[in-house]
């Protein structure tokens, strides 16, 4: 039982790490209807820029600010050169464009900073401690806390500020939002910039966990099933989806693995997401569109 709880908790905490990446997707999808495959590349770019600056002697917050600034520039460039020319194209086209985008960002990141593996120390100890016989990781708790704060901040942004309200209007109905004078382009840029910020936070936490290196961009693959289960349009959904995926894949690996063969974590979330889709095609929190003919 203790072991089960440990696996469960470990899974839930790992799931929150997935959610961190998934939130970036949700933001962009809500505002521009784009399933942004380049989010993983953005995470890599942010982490690599940050750690490279740090290694060159730039202090923590300075590096953070410069990285954030470069994410803003990236967002601006994406809006200008990719999104604007592709307005009103089918979602599949936009998705494929983000595939191209992820190639560009990955190439750019490595051109600028090289391909070495960097360690990243955020100064958070990862010594485990025990509560009631259960092993807990400080780092994971910290990451979970960060995810929580991020969600809180984002929901404040969405619900209380002018920008947030226009964001929601755009998410709701682009045409209507346009007609009441909301500038679509501006909203998109803000959203991509915020997604860039989320990417930076995710990049720092994941980078501290894995080391900053190329495979950071692969975590996008973990975020996809999270989104399917949580729905593409709900930040809360991303959190819940992350928890479900994290916990179930760990439990499956531990309990199902010995039966059918180990190493199933790669595909298990996808099969789970697929089953989910067949039952609830829009995820738990997603809104289902009614098809009109």
């Amino acid at each position: 039982m203790e072991f089960f709880l440990e696996v469960l908790i470990g899974g839930l905490l790992a799931g929150l790490m997935y959610s961190l990446v998934a939130i970036g997707f949700v933001l962009i999808y809500k505002a521009s209807g784009v399933f942004n495959f380049a989010q993983g590349a953005m995470v890599l770019f942010a982490a690599l820029t940050f750690v490279s600056l740090l290694e060159r002697g730039v202090p923590f917050w300075g590096a953070f600010a410069v990285t954030l600034l470069s994410m803003l520039m990236l967002a601006w460039a994406i809006e200008r050169m990719v999104l604007r020319p592709l307005v009103n194209r089918p979602p599949i086209t936009l998705f494929m464009a983000t595939l191209g985008l992820s190639y560009i960002i990955e190439g750019l990141a490595q051109t600028l900073w090289g391909a070495q593996v960097h360690g990243l120390d955020l100064g958070i100890s990862d010594e485990p401690f025990e509560v009631a016989g259960l092993l807990l990781s400080q780092f994971d708790l910290f990451a979970a806390g960060t995810a929580g704060l991020l969600v809180l901040a984002l929901s404040l942004l969405f619900n209380k500020t002018r920008v947030g309200i226009s964001l929601r209007a755009v998410a709701d109905d682009q045409l209507a939002a346009l007609s009441i004078g909301i500038k679509l382009q501006k909203v998109w840029m803000i959203v991509w910039a915020v997604a860039g910020f989320v990417g930076l936070v995710a990049g720092l936490l994941w980078g501290a966990r894995l080391g900053v290196q190329f495979s950071l961009s692969l975590i996008v693959l973990k975020a996809l099933p999270v989104l399917i289960i949580g729905g593409f349009t709900s930040i809360g959904g991303a959190i819940v989806g992350g928890l479900i995926i994290g916990a179930s894949e760990k439990l499956a690996e531990v309990y199902l693995g010995p039966v059918i063969g180990g190493g199933i974590e790669n595909w298990f979330p996808y099969v789970l997401a697929l089953l989910f889709l067949l039952v609830r095609p829009a995820g738990i929190f997603g809104e289902r569109a009614i098809e009109r003919v």
Binding site: A97, Y103, E106, T111, L221, L224, N266, W267, V271, L274
Partner: protein, 355 residues
């Protein structure tokens, strides 16, 4: 005028479905085929066969497979490489376990196995659409690689989990030299391209496009949606499976399941984006582009920039170029290189007139 087309009319409905309606195009095409089959084997060298022509043909074929599914039937997939893997491993096992199995029949059964797997992962396409379908094809991608690595049976318990090509012998002729492997690939590719061309110009091809353009309307006029989609998955996977077998046996000789990973699926998707979705010719153009551009860049820099530009940087540059081109094509020419080629041909039909 390069083309004199006056006086050429189709005289039967069937003749209209022909590959090329003009004599000039038809003869040009036959000449090209003859050149590829008869002249190239004598003109080419090992490098051209093994490093350029064979991968080009196999990737064109893989592009064709995905294009039928995505470009014609409108179902996006990121699992192409998985179906290639199924084809390769199935062909290997048919060859290994059934005595006297002819090589080409082994390929065929490899393709059929891939088609069956394709149908299984295509089943959810009835309920889920658009990029939600990516989940199903990504599941295929991960599940297939896992299964092939997990169970040693598939690689005949090879300690390294790899499969190697069986002897490439057809009716007593040995095709294992580079030129032979080229001819084998070319022959299989030509047959499958002919097959695919006929399909997309038949009723089934129209049904695929109808489902792609608007599936509710397709259902209302009586097109059986699920059957049409599943046939797309099956035929697409069949071709991908044979492409996978060729990749393993005619091109590399030895492969492991991870040779068919997600980046291969991306590569194939890029071929059809750049080449042109919903175009048969586009697969060749896209594959040529994706095979030749890296080689060109690396050759040019090795010749002119040796020591000036770090080869690593060049690779990054190439990544950026690919990404940028994909976006460029999506923005400017969603129909890809095939459309550019068509426009070029339209112009040459009336050349030197301006309009």
């Amino acid at each position: 005028m390069l083309y004199r087309e006056s006086g050429q009319f189709s005289t039967s409905y069937l003749a209209e479905g022909r590959l090329f309606k003009l004599y000039q195009q038809r003869w040009g095409f036959y000449a090209l085929l003859a050149f590829a089959f008869l002249a190239v084997p004598y003109l080419g060298n090992d490098y051209w066969f093994s490093a350029i022509l064979i991968p080009f043909l196999v990737l064109s074929l893989a592009g064709l497979g995905l294009n039928l599914l995505t470009g014609y039937a409108g179902q996006i997939s990121l699992g192409s490489a998985a179906f290639m893997a199924v084809g390769a491993f199935a062909a290997y096992n048919f060859q290994l376990r059934i005595d006297g199995m002819p090589l080409l029949l082994g390929f065929f059964f490899g393709g059929v196995t891939a088609a069956l797997v394709g149908v299984v992962f295509g089943l959810p396409s009835l309920r889920i659409k658009g990029f939600y379908l990516l989940v199903s094809t990504l599941a295929a991608q991960f599940v297939v690689t896992w299964v092939l690595t997990q169970f040693g049976w598939f690689s005949n318990y090879n300690s390294s989990g790899v499969i190697s090509a069986p002897p490439l012998v057809i009716l007593g002729h040995d095709f294992s030299s580079p030129a032979g492997r080229y001819l084998l690939t070319l022959g299989v590719a030509a047959a499958l391209f002919w097959f695919a061309h006929n399909i997309v110009h038949s009723e089934l091809g129209r049904r695929w496009m109808a489902v792609r353009d608007m599936d509710t309307a397709a259902a209302v006029i009586g097109i059986p949606i699920l059957q049409t989609k599943l046939l797309a998955f099956a035929i697409s996977s069949f071709i991908l499976g044979i492409a996978g077998a060729l990749w393993a046996f005619a091109y590399l000789g030895t492969v492991e399941p991870h040779g068919f990973d997600l980046s291969r699926s991306f590569q194939i998707l890029f071929i059809i984006i750049i080449g042109g979705m919903g175009s048969i010719l586009g697969n060749f153009l896209g594959a040529a582009f994706i095979v030749l551009l890296p080689i060109l860049l690396s050759n040019l820099s090795a010749t002119f920039l040796a020591g000036v530009v770090d080869p690593g940087q060049l690779e990054n540059l190439q990544k950026i170029i690919f990404g940028a081109l994909i976006i460029f094509f999506l923005i400017k020419e969603p129909a890809g290189l095939a459309r550019l080629w068509q426009a070029f041909r339209e112009r040459s039909r009336i050349w030197p007139l301006r309009f």
